[in-house]
């Protein structure tokens, strides 16, 4: 009987605590000079925006920020409809979207808040130091299976990928593999840390990670996007000056007429503090 009572109590306690939190929220919103901003869009930018919003709200009690994911397309649609103040984007606007904004007579400001770059990594014992995009595509689609085909030792290639739920998985597929599917014998691991660990201890391994994760246990490869004429070494510098090909800018986009309202958030993202969060979350800062 006692147990039954306990079970009945649990949801009750839950409900009570929820109610309490909500009233607090309302209190914050009703403050006189409070700003409440909604940010919506890319799931790649989401962890960064979330962390920045948390820090900003801790520092300034008058600012209330709501961050919602859903994808770049969702964010831009919301910006067109006016249901969000800032759209997060991991790509440039498409022509179609630009047209929609001009139709609505809205001028959109794009601010690059960080870069996202991927490095291809191998075991430090591997002799291969550079690969072309075509070779990478063939390795990950299973057409090249031995390191000697790309100038290395006679050893089997063990390719590691992220899980299909990861944005990195899609980015690598679109950017490097020409939208072809991964071979089904590619090993997939749930986290970047696990990929570094696995590549570090497996001789014939190859994998890809965010540029910011580089460690000494693995070797980074230079890649070429012009059939082997020039190979670019991955580094924060080459990602910033856009010479490194496997990288993309991350944007905050907002309506110019709305600029005053979102200024606090955009300024914070570009501030040294905000840029520090960029490196913490695993992206490439602007400076």
């Amino acid at each position: 009987m006692n147990k039954t009572k306990l079970f009945l109590m649990l949801p009750l306690i839950g409900m009570l605590s929820c109610g309490k939190a909500k009233t607090e929220d309302k209190g914050a919103e009703s403050k006189a000079n409070a700003i409440s901003v909604t940010i919506k869009g890319s799931d790649t930018v989401l962890p960064l925006a979330q962390k920045e919003a948390e820090d900003l709200m801790k520092a300034d009690a008058n600012v209330s920020v709501t961050v919602v994911g859903g994808g770049t397309g969702v964010g831009l649609t919301a910006l067109i409809d006016g249901t969000t103040d800032i759209a997060m984007a991991s790509r440039d606007m498409k022509t179609e979207e630009k047209l929609k904004f001009s139709e609505m007579k809205k001028e959109i400001e794009e601010v690059i808040i960080a870069y996202d770059a991927l490095t291809v990594i191998v075991n430090p014992a591997n002799k291969v130091g550079k690969l072309t995009r075509e070779q990478l595509e063939k390795i990950f689609t299973g057409q090249i299976t031995n390191w000697k085909e790309v100038g290395g030792e006679d050893a089997k290639i063990v390719a590691y990928s992220r899980e299909s739920s990861s944005g990195t998985y899609e980015f690598f597929k679109d950017e490097v593999m020409g939208k072809k599917n991964y071979a089904s014998n590619i090993l997939s691991l749930p986290a970047t840390g696990a990929i570094v660990q696995a590549v570090g201890q497996t001789k014939g391994a190859i994998g890809y990670i965010g540029l910011a994760y580089e460690t000494k246990e693995v070797k980074q490869l230079s890649v070429s996007y012009d059939q082997g004429k020039t190979f670019i070494e991955p580094s924060v510098a080459s990602a910033k000056d856009k010479s490194y090909p496997i990288s993309r800018p991350l944007f905050y986009m907002f309506d110019k007429t709305n600029a005053a309202k979102v200024k606090t958030i955009v300024d914070f993202a570009l501030s040294p503090e905000g840029q520090k969060i960029v490196s913490e979350v695993g992206y490439v800062p602007l400076k």
């Binding site: 039954t4 050893a155 599917n181 014998n185 090993l187 691991l189 749930p190 201890q201 497996t202 014939g204």
Partner: protein, 385 residues
Amino acid sequence: MLSSAATSITVILIVFFLFIEGAGVFTKKPIDDGFLLAVSVDNQVKKIKPSEIKDIYDQKITNWKQLGGKDLPIVLFRAGDITDYYTEEELGKNFEFFPDKINELIAKTPGIIAFFSDKYKAKDFKGRELDIDKIKVSEFLSGEEWFPTAQPIAQMGVKPLIYGTLWVSLGAILLALPIGLAAAIYLSEIAKKRTRSLLKPLIELLAAIPSVVYGFFGLVIIVPLIQSTFDLPVGETGLAGSVVLAIMALPTIITISEDAMRNTPRAMKEASLALGASKWQTIYKIVIPYSASGITAGAILGIGRAIGETMAVLMVTGNAAVIPHTLLEPVRTIPATIAAELGEAPNGGLHYEALFALGCILFIITFGINMLVELVTNRNSHKKH
């Protein structure tokens, strides 16, 4: 009384929910909602299998001849490629000519296969829309490729996942059962009281370690060990998963079987020893038969943990969705698949429902094992009395 009724109802509701969601996958086509695949009307290929569509878009099939059509190279087209064919002016300021242009393109390119949203399908559509069948139960179970997010056609074959789960669990139980039984016999019959009071809490402590810690331990210690022992190109294998799961299942098996063995009446053991049987003979003629049902219970709970375990397996088995032939190959298990993919699968979508269907399969497997063991124990106990 009340709480047991509540528990049963909850269990039934969960199973019901699982099967309702899982069955949804068989009412859907493996193509994104609102999208279509179209070819030229002159194209003689009537039917393309989902796996063939994937090969076409991966450029493994590049000529219609390979599918029984004319000798004509296949031209791939996705909606975003339209700018390769027409300028923005031709498409109109607001893309109002988009449907017409796709129409025109399909009409004048006999080798085309086009994937685009049906929003852009013109009223007087001149191409032929490809029929895509709903996913069949048999295809779902016997398909050998698992690409749930592939565009344009998702590949939903769960055979490699089922095989992966069974291989890893079987390996785990083959490793854990002998070791667990030996340890239980030692603890209950042979060990001195002091040794036991020291060892038993230690073994029980194993059960308290979070599974993700086991996973990391496996990735850092067991995986390299297996790689160097068997001289493999890669250490993330089914065997690594089996070893980690065996370690995780050991405390359950040891504790439960040891308790059962210690329940053997003292009188029975003493009678056996008095009749001149050795200690070992007493153990396997008296103690083990008497505690058989307890030992099986321990084994079932061990298997249950092995089959359903997620995190540890996700980290050490490599998760490649290929049908394994030995334990020394990477495998992908059902729980690992659900855990890794459910977070990003859109709610209510095809991928989401396919993961629930995987959950149903897992449920049926564990349910089957439990029934089997129940049957075996019942038969044994009848024989005994």
